[in-house]
């Protein structure tokens, strides 16, 4: 049984707490949260502390707070030489305070508070200072996911940038599609099958093989019509830049 303390009460922390509570072979012994009431819907008050001095002993400590707060929180921990992890894709390994052994437990997924998540298909990217710690983190990872992988900090950084493109920016393009529909009294749901198929396609084809549309065909008439249609200058710029970029990739 791996004894875990989670430190944090935000979006990712809440999803982690939920999966650890229902996972066999892990024991969520405590959660540290500055505002325990944020977690009252998830676990009993006596499992939560907001006092650093009262953090209990565990096999590992997972800091899941905003990137800016990781350094300070890890410095406040009142113990030494224990295994302390953070869950951030973009924060350095070295941001964790030196007094404890360091590790990374980065679940590569988009978490929204209001939407439940199945962890089993989520890649969990792991890193540790020594092999014994790595084994322990890997055991924890294997308890909640089928896709645990060891990656170094440079790879993690690159994955985080890539994730911003394929998730945050993609979702923003959905948002633009949604706005265009709204302005023209077409339900956004009409685009759902297209959105799903576009995502499914790249499970079978590379994105380069899957590319279609006026930019790829260099269909200048349609591209001009679309640019005329778009009134929002930011969307017009995006349309032009993305069109150019598709055409550059085509030539590679």
């Amino acid at each position: 049984m791996i004894k875990v303390v989670v430190i944090g009460s935000g979006n990712v922390a809440q999803h982690l707490i939920q999966v650890l509570l229902k996972t066999e072979n892990t024991d969520l012994v405590q959660v540290f949260a500055r505002t325990p009431s944020h977690l009252s819907h998830l676990l009993h008050r006596n499992k939560i502390t907001s006092d650093y001095q009262k953090i209990t002993e565990a096999d590992l400590y997972i800091i899941s707070v905003s990137d800016n707060a990781i350094a300070e929180v890890s410095a406040q921990l009142p113990f030494e030489n224990r295994l302390v992890l953070h869950t951030s894709g973009s924060s350095e390994f070295s941001i964790l305070n030196d007094k404890n052994r360091k590790g990374i437990f980065y679940p590569l997924q988009t978490f929204t508070k209001s939407k439940k998540i199945d962890f089993s298909p989520i890649p969990i990217c792991l890193e540790a200072e020594n092999e014994a710690d790595y084994q322990l983190i890997e055991n924890l990872g294997n308890c909640i996911s089928q896709k645990v992988m060891r990656i170094n900090s440079e790879q993690r950084k690159s994955l985080h940038v890539a994730a911003v493109f394929v998730c945050n920016f993609v979702n923003h393009l959905y948002q633009i599609g949604n706005e265009i529909c709204k302005e023209n009294n077409v339900p956004f749901e009409v685009l759902h099958p297209l959105i799903q198929e576009t995502a499914h396609k790249i499970m079978e084809l590379s994105p380069k093989e899957a590319q279609t549309g006026p930019a790829l065909r260099n269909d200048t008439k349609t591209i001009e019509k679309h640019l005329d249609f778009l009134e929002n200058s930011e969307y017009k710029n995006l349309y032009q830049l993305l069109t150019q970029s598709i055409q550059h990739v085509k030539k590679l």
Copy 2:
């Protein structure tokens, strides 16, 4: 039994031919193709003509050729006052020659030759000059899809622009994610679950509710790190423009 002639042998035409061949209540009586050999894997040579004069009688004719060719092809048809449709999202209704009755049969999906498509969930957007023709087109649509809808030309145009954003441009962001992974020796497949979840999310949440990431949080440290990381200036520009655009939407 609705008798259909398909005119064209490209990507969309081939998918249409395949679905019409296996659909009850429709009879694909003939296909017109300038190069019949393009279709030899789909249907018998005697079902294909490349001579306009030999096009047979049918209830409707579906022109599924590149946007630039629709006008010319519809002008070449050697008959009058029959129902002739095109399948383009971006071409005008009026591009079809006046000698025949006009209609639109626009399946809103991304078609790749090498990937089979289930038509039943695909929205088919329909338009016609008169109600009797509309009924016939709707009957045809209902034979192959569960999501037939009447939309006017302005709405169709807006849907096509929106589709470019949520499909072609989204796929290009997948392509960028793929390149970043490749350069850093991380398998692109690690991003698959994130891509699928990002697409699934907007079936339950609006894109605005589903938005996450450094741009939304205005996490300037991470944004700077990512911009430093990106060496390709086009991707850097895209990163900046998309980040700005997310922040503008947030303020709305």
